[in-house]
Symmetry: D2
């Protein structure tokens, strides 16, 4: 078996970038309970301070996604400067049209035109913020949908959705994109208005090249083959990025790779195979998860590492040998080539790459040694901890 | 086809009782948002006032389940009297060991003995409350479990669970029961400590006759045949009752019968077939659902009606003809007998039964005409609305 | 509540047509066992003789789908004449590229070009047969896919699929269509090459207006909202038809409407709402199911009736009142309008319609009285019973 | 982090035994097609010849499960001798009461007592065969169930099942056991009569200590936590063994560990943690899978290796460190200990162990070099290939 070029593998791992979400640094929970944690940030600036620790120890997480209005500030220039001082930049802008009482029955798909207008105005405001922060991507996830059969007209909601998306699309500037997310369930229980990649794809296709589909790994029906979707969207030129996380059944807030690391590897293999790891492919690799019971910063570091390990394994697949086995119909041989890479322990490789960059070989251990957890626990007293809705 | 005895059907429907949960009258929501509604109760007493409206219009909902500590009061005798004045009685006591910060990693299965003790004390307190309210049943649902593989020792948690359950069981008085609920997922994402009926059954079997399994219709894996479980538990003498609700995929808060009315009918058929509609069978028929986006009182009325309609259809099954078809291996014939009952429009029958009791034929319409919604919207200003955690 | 125009409802039910599949009249089974039944047809002609009984008693099943090569004959003109003599016509041609040893690793997506060519030739032969039978639709379902990760290149298989579909599309004559079916699982266990509506849609979109998606009600992941897909495809002008059947978990061979009649009603409501019941909408309503343990002809009659009943209920939805409730955000009111139609017993209405056409009110009973079952059991001795693969 | 004792790990891996199933050496397929393979055995003896190759190259597969009547022979003593000559022994006897036309509506749960008697006689005959072969275990899987609601009385079927199981139990000799398998779906589509571990457990509990539950890894609802069930059954002393295989959605015939290797590791961890790897725990580790498209012997070798690798990783878990992290509520730390073992590449360790026993380090490669495949392809001409039903 011929080995892939290790230099190229290392170079790819060196250049990979993973965006962390501001909300993962704040408190979160389930519908049953939000458990508060000591030292949690109280402001967008403190979230960036924490994110800087993740980047400091991993070296691959230089940008932070914002959630509006949770990260609303008066001066985005100042926020960007705060980020820059810490070696970070502001990343994707996430719109939030689900936490206002007006959105009980939907936002851009609401039967009432006034509510739709309010939601659209928020989306347009997010593009204004992108102008201020220099963000490339607007990520759109809608909690819209219905809970009961008959509650609203499924098809009319698509018309309303298309109308709002068009208005946002037309507002996008040069180099700006819209990433449309789909979700199979929750919090709308009977229908969500963008339940699957097909729906997101159909809308993005109609909108144009600036509209791309984002795959959230936690948003599919049981048994869905996610890497197939990734391969397909890449083939169609319509994959904009990933929201990484894990789930076993419902809430999609577990650390990426923690529920099914083999699936994450398969997804990353299709990314590699589709050339989507290249920077000019424009794929955004983002985490979208919350840490309800585990300490947040080390959980985010672990998540970044999990994506790195899956990527390293995907890069180690001997694609030439694989192609030969596939073309000759050698089922077991082809599977074995893939499994050979998956079964490789890539942690030494990643440790070496980190050390070459002057980082500690084990980012979680380095974080624990740094004293940051003790520092923020001591300093961040008073004020209101950031969290969902704050 | 011979018809079932209509007099017996009507008598069974007349005597059926469905318990409504105090928390369904308060605000609720998803992890994304709790939408407040006008006129929502601010106290346990006001919840009872609303529950009295459900009973007034349906005639079959005379008891109300309490949730401790949400419904904690100084004087349970006074609360019981408040209920009695409105034609109600206090029903099942629901323990809550999931909304305290100490319970982040579990309650009765927590690795720390001090937390387990605290949880157990709460459960024992609930039995004290049962003594005061005269409630028969203590309903136990545990949010306990783990989010990540390895987080805790799955088997040791069973030992801890067994220990606490035994202590509660030993505290139960004459005529008191413990209903153990299972749940396949959420809010513990990797394992729940009582994930399926088998686990609940094994514990109840060991505990003794006062421990019974409660089936929550929303707590199963996709594709699970719930009526099979009902039939099995009845055969084993281990079915204590139902928590009724619906779900399409995740959160189990939709009105019972709204997602799959045919399933509800099949469940009620096994209830009828197993003799569990008889009062001396001791089966508790309870709603356990919340109304996040729809008005609460009419939603509860509709839910009660949905259970009644499913029961009526189940009672209308021509069991003699069915048995003949089953015994002769007539697949289509047997299925047709069941479907014949399901396809019957039982609303006229139920309307007649209501009218015979002096009720309006359409409880939802009667409620809307009553002016109660307008009254509480006008009167219940100020104070803090009841909801999850309040 | 204003009632829908009953005359229009009856007219719509009178004009509805449901195609039955030739293979449902033959033997079938699971991977564990095929149970033979007495009187099963031995030739395509005998299948048509049975199909004629379904149409005789229901009045709405005048066409029969063929499966090639199972229904291969020397003279399709003669077969069409045989059908015509019995009041039938030949319907959709179903291609079969999964029962030859060459197709072990796929047909049109096989890594070997020679196998792909063989599969394509079969598809083109099916269009030749369509020319001979006058069939409008070619239905394409592919068993293609992979069982193991790495077994083949997911994306390359899409390229191969696109190439074959294009060749077939280009061969289609005036007024001929290609219906592309998707299936989430089985018999390829890791990936199927057309797993979801999005994949079928993307291919059909590229091919052109003669390529349409067909929704098989049994081919979705657990929890999928099928009526949403129906609404969406109708909105996009890309729904070609239905393959009706039911399943609880896996094999999709149960009678349509037998597992979740409420779902079938919701699907038919979106059909009605989308104007797709009109003949010029060009939607093919087909059964695609097998009857492994129940007698085949009455099971098909029952299935036709189940579609009729769901359609009748869908037509009875008071759409004006529904629209008012939906627009005003009346969640419970809107749901109640839908449920009111669903809860209506439409069997008397359908019985009356049948009687107006000179049919018996209960087609199953009429069939049993006809003596056909006894006749074929007595006459069809010897020869080889038709079934999967024959 | 302290390391587990490597000597003990190696010893455990040396002593592990995995039973292979005779039917995996024969042809198999889906309901759509059985693809024949060259060189497939035509007799039980030839199946043993192939099984001997698996044991020759892995060193851990010395026993072969039989399926009656597929492996029925006149002289079981001779068959056992044939096995012994090849270093094998005959293992678990699998009863088959699903491939006779009489079993269309069930076997031991059939409504007709005569069919039940026939099925019971077969089960008793299997115990006779056990006496002849010296097998310890009778494995019982029932295809029994119903396809349609109402088809039969769910509860009465349990009574019939209990009656037959009791009769078989009473016939078991000293040192013989009955392993009762459950399956969530298929080939009975609406209910299976033993759908979950709880049902199997309840029956086994009533029967006595010789009745034990067998966990087939492919027989659960989506999202089921199988390792939880393993832990629970071990705690109850009611786990009899495993049927290993994989599935993504439906048919459970893929190589164990190929769909979710992390899950297999978690299962094996609970086995190790529960002391069930010890020989005196009496746990049967069996494969139960078929190889529809891949060559059978190397697929079985790979499956054996997959179980070994998962076992090795499970043995490498640093249980002391894990226990400390678990007891202190260190969620991330505990998870990291588990993942550390999972992420280890255990292939070098297993290669070394093989070499110490005089085996080749890579059993698949050794098999390919052996020329066996070419030999059987050349020699096994004519006759009827073994397969399902043969």
């Amino acid at each position: 078996m011929s080995d892939p070029d290790l230099t190229a593998v290392e170079a790819a791992l060196q250049s990979q970038r993973i965006e962390t979400p501001s909300w993962a640094y704040g408190n979160s929970g389930t519908r049953f309970k939000v458990f508060a944690q000591p030292g949690v940030p109280r402001t967008p600036e403190e979230k960036l301070d924490d994110a800087a620790r993740v980047h400091e120890h991993t070296g691959v997480a230089p940008s932070v996604a914002l959630h509006i209005p949770w990260d609303k500030v008066d001066d985005y220039g100042a926020l960007a400067a705060h980020a820059k001082d810490r070696g970070l930049r502001l990343g994707t802008i996430n719109a939030n049209v689900f936490q206002d009482d007006d959105y009980k029955l939907g936002s851009v798909t609401h039967p009432d035109a006034a509510v739709r207008r309010k939601a659209l105005d928020h989306l347009l405001e997010c593009v204004d913020i992108m102008d201020a922060t220099g963000s490339r991507d607007l990520k759109l996830w809608f909690a819209d949908g219905t809970n009961y059969p008959g509650q609203d007209d499924i098809r009319a909601r698509q018309d309303r959705l298309a109308e709002s998306l068009t208005a946002v699309y037309d507002r996008l500037g040069e180099g700006q994109r819209m990433l449309l997310e789909y979700k199979f369930f929750e919090p709308a229980f009977y229908t969500t208005d963008v339940p699957d990649w097909g729906t997101a794809y159909a809308h993005c296709l109609r909108l144009g090249p600036k509209a791309q589909v984002v795959v959230d790994t936690g948003h599919h029906a049981p048994g869905t083959n996610i890497e197939f979707i990734v391969a397909l969207l890449l083939r169609e030129g319509k994959l904009g990025g990933f929201d990484f996380n894990s789930r076993f059944y419902a809430d999609d807030d577990l650390m990426v790779g923690s529920a099914d690391p083999f699936q994450l590897f398969r997804i990353m293999y299709e990314v590699v195979r589709g050339g989507a790891l290249e920077e000019d492919a424009g794929i955004a690799f983002m985490l979208d998860q919350c840490h309800n019971i585990e300490p947040k910063i080390p959980a985010i570091i672990r998540s970044v590492m999990n994506v790195q390990e899956a990527t390293a394994k995907a890069l180690l697949v001997d694609r030439e040998t694989l192609a030969v086995a596939q073309r000759s119909g050698d089922v077991l041989g082809a599977n074995a080539v893939l499994m050979d890479a998956y079964n490789t322990d890539v942690r030494p490789l990643l440790a070496r790459i980190r050390q070459e960059r002057g980082l500690g070989p084990d980012p979680v251990a380095a974080y624990h040694r740094s004293g940051w957890a003790e520092k923020i626990t001591g300093e961040r007293k008073g004020g209101r901890q950031a969290g969902w809705g704050a």
